[in-house]
Amino acid sequence: MKRIKITITSFLVVSLIQAQFSVSGEINPYAMIRTKDSSKINLPFRLLSLDTGYSFESFDIKINTAVEHRIKTNKSLLDLREAYFAFYPEWGEVKLGKQIHSWGAADAINPTNNANPYDYYYMFKVGAGTKVGVLSLASTYYSDSFQIEIVVNPYFNKNRIPYAEKDFPLAPDNEPKVKYYPNEELEIGVRLQTSLNIGDFSLSFFSGNDRMPSLHTGIFSNESSADISMDLGYRRTAMLGLDFVTFIGDFTIRAESALYETKTGIIENNNRLNNFYVLNEDVIYSQYVFQFEYTTSNDLMFSGQFIGSRTINEDRKWQNNSIESSSGEIIIPDFNPGMGTPFAMFSNKAFLISSSGVFLDDQIDIQGSVMLNLENSGLFYSFGSGYSPILNWKVELAATQFLGSGKPKDPFTLMEDFSHVRIGIMYNF
């Protein structure tokens, strides 16, 4: 027993001596001021991001946390964004724990990246910042010519939506009560990537549950088909994705496309009501991004993204389980995708032009982008700049402006109130 204790203690001491600890992060307080009336926008933001790591030979432990702060109420919340254990054998890597996965070749908008839900509070950020970490087991096998990644999420995970946030115009008034949670929680994703001389190509598959709730059942008045009550649930959705990056002349082409099939799960009429209807949906829809980018000799980057989504085939009907008949009288609401990129809620066809550059030895960075709604006449444009007079410190100034089509339900029109100027400081450590 004593020998075992000595062995374990020796191992721990050696591990600690040889291990590498790392701590990094950023402090980023900022304020968002509405352009319309100079009032403050009351939404939470990540005041502090702290990434800690412990590495020992082929093992890593990573813990990434954030302190989310709301200026108006001066309240902070600790968010454990990721906490996972990673093992790096000769053939690849294995990660277990709460983590964020990144799939897809395009920048910022990735229809194939569905292993994690979105955090809609940060939908205008890029990369891992827009996602919510989930408990999962992920493993990647690397060979000379290809790599294959498998992700398994044992539990159901949903998007984080800014419910009842008056300062976010697209936010629902209150959090809906969801009655039907997935019967099958397990989610599985596989991504195969190969590198050729002309570029990288990937094929991906993900089978999981919708991240956004949708209408599932309704109890209707027999006389008028007016609804008495409606209940929401999460559909089962499978995604088949393809993405690639290739080079044509001086241009880099990145493209990503995902085909989704979503189905309502089996719902029993436990109430034995004759006026209980299930909205049975079997819909195939797609989302795609075609991106081209060009970098000038003085390091200015220009990119254009054509973003689209469309419903390919839909079979949607209200069905009354007790008498096994369907009703054509009850209005079927518009289809809402429950998985995929959040930008689909803005438009089914949009064009995003972006540009960025750094000046004065990287002391100043400037980015600008314009998103044009090709379906209606809406657009948004944003401009951002950062000035770093001292190493690791940066002053940030950004502006975002939405211009809608004038139609009241157009997301660009609704977002006009969200047009704002953002002023902040960032310190990296």
């Binding site: 990094s24 950023e26 890593d60 990673a86 790096y88 000769e90 690849g92 890597e93 964020i100 990144s102 897809g104 070749a105 920048d107 890029v126 990369g127 891992a128 910042g129 990647t140 690397y142 790599q147 590198s195 001389n197 570029g199 990288d200 990056v245 080079f247 001086d250 880099t252 970098t295 000799s297 003085n298 390091d299 750094v358 004065l360 030895d361 990287d362 002391q363 770093s388 001292i390 190493l391 690791n392 940066k394 960032m426 990296n428 450590f429």
Partner: protein
């Protein structure tokens, strides 16, 4: 007396032989200097912009570079560069696979904020490296066969007598002509002048110090000057180690993401 005569003859013979060397032979001799099978360097890059001639040392990059060179097989070398500072770009990394022959290099960038590895266009090598006056290609050893060499003459650089060799890319539009200053004693590269496609001199690299560790020469201080905008970047080696037996796995997407 006889001894002195031999020395004189030997000296004449050496200078005669040197004079007979072609540009290509000089470059081959330079490349024949012993090279480690792998190298790990930590270095600092300090940026001086034309507007800031006060040599503000606060704008610097701290980086780690590991490189593995291959004697045979399909690769010339594999290289991984990783940013340590500034903290905002900590973990930002570049992986380069240089293939034997004319096949373009493969390059990937890891961007920690995106948590994503991006394949980048090989000709992007001629682009500036993260705001410095160095380009991505300055970190990668160029295959001798890709250029045609022409001896222009000789010149002195900081007390070293140097051959001036013109290197003309044979079939690579992303490179312009370069003039190399190679010293005539140790065959070390001392200076490079870079020209664009219309033969305008655009950059000058000056290598000030070399250190010899065991049999390997390492440039420890070099400055790249941009003649078009007046800016320059100083690169100083902080520490270096050789022949560590670096595993091939380190030059993979897996390791690119692990920091």
């Amino acid at each position: 007396m006889l001894h002195k005569t031999y020395l004189a003859i030997l000296s004449i013979l050496i200078s005669f032989c040197s004079a007979q060397l072609s540009g290509e032979e000089i470059v081959i001799r330079m490349n024949k200097n012993p090279n480690p099978s792998d190298i790990k360097i930590k270095f600092k890059m300090t940026l001086f912009s034309n507007a800031k001639k006060n040599k503000n040392k606060k704008h610097y990059r701290l980086m780690e570079q590991i490189e593995k060179r291959y004697e045979d097989g399909v690769f010339n070398s594999k290289l991984l560069l990783r940013f340590m500072e500034p903290k905002e770009v900590r973990g930002f990394s570049l992986l380069n696979w240089s293939w034997v022959g004319e096949k373009n290099d493969d390059q990937w960038l890891y961007i920690p904020k995106l948590r994503k590895t991006k394949r980048i266009r090989p000709s992007d090598k001629s682009r500036k490296f993260q705001g410095t006056e160095f380009t991505y290609s300055d970190f990668i050893k160029r295959d001798t066969n890709l250029d045609k060499y022409n001896l222009l003459g000789s010149d002195n650089f900081r007390g070293n007598k140097c051959f001036m060799v013109e290197a003309n890319p044979i079939n690579d539009l992303s490179y312009g002509v370069r003039i190399l200053w190679i010293d005539d004693t140790d065959y070390l590269l001392r200076k490079i002048e870079f020209f664009d496609n219309i033969n305008e001199k655009i950059k000058v690299l000056e290598i000030f110090d070399y250190v010899k560790n065991n049999q390997y020469w390492t440039p420890t201080k070099k400055i790249m000057k941009n003649l078009l905008n007046g800016s320059s970047t100083k690169m100083e080696v902080i520490n270096v180690s050789y022949d560590q037996g670096l595993n091939d796995n380190l030059f993979s997407e897996k390791y690119l993401k692990r920091f």
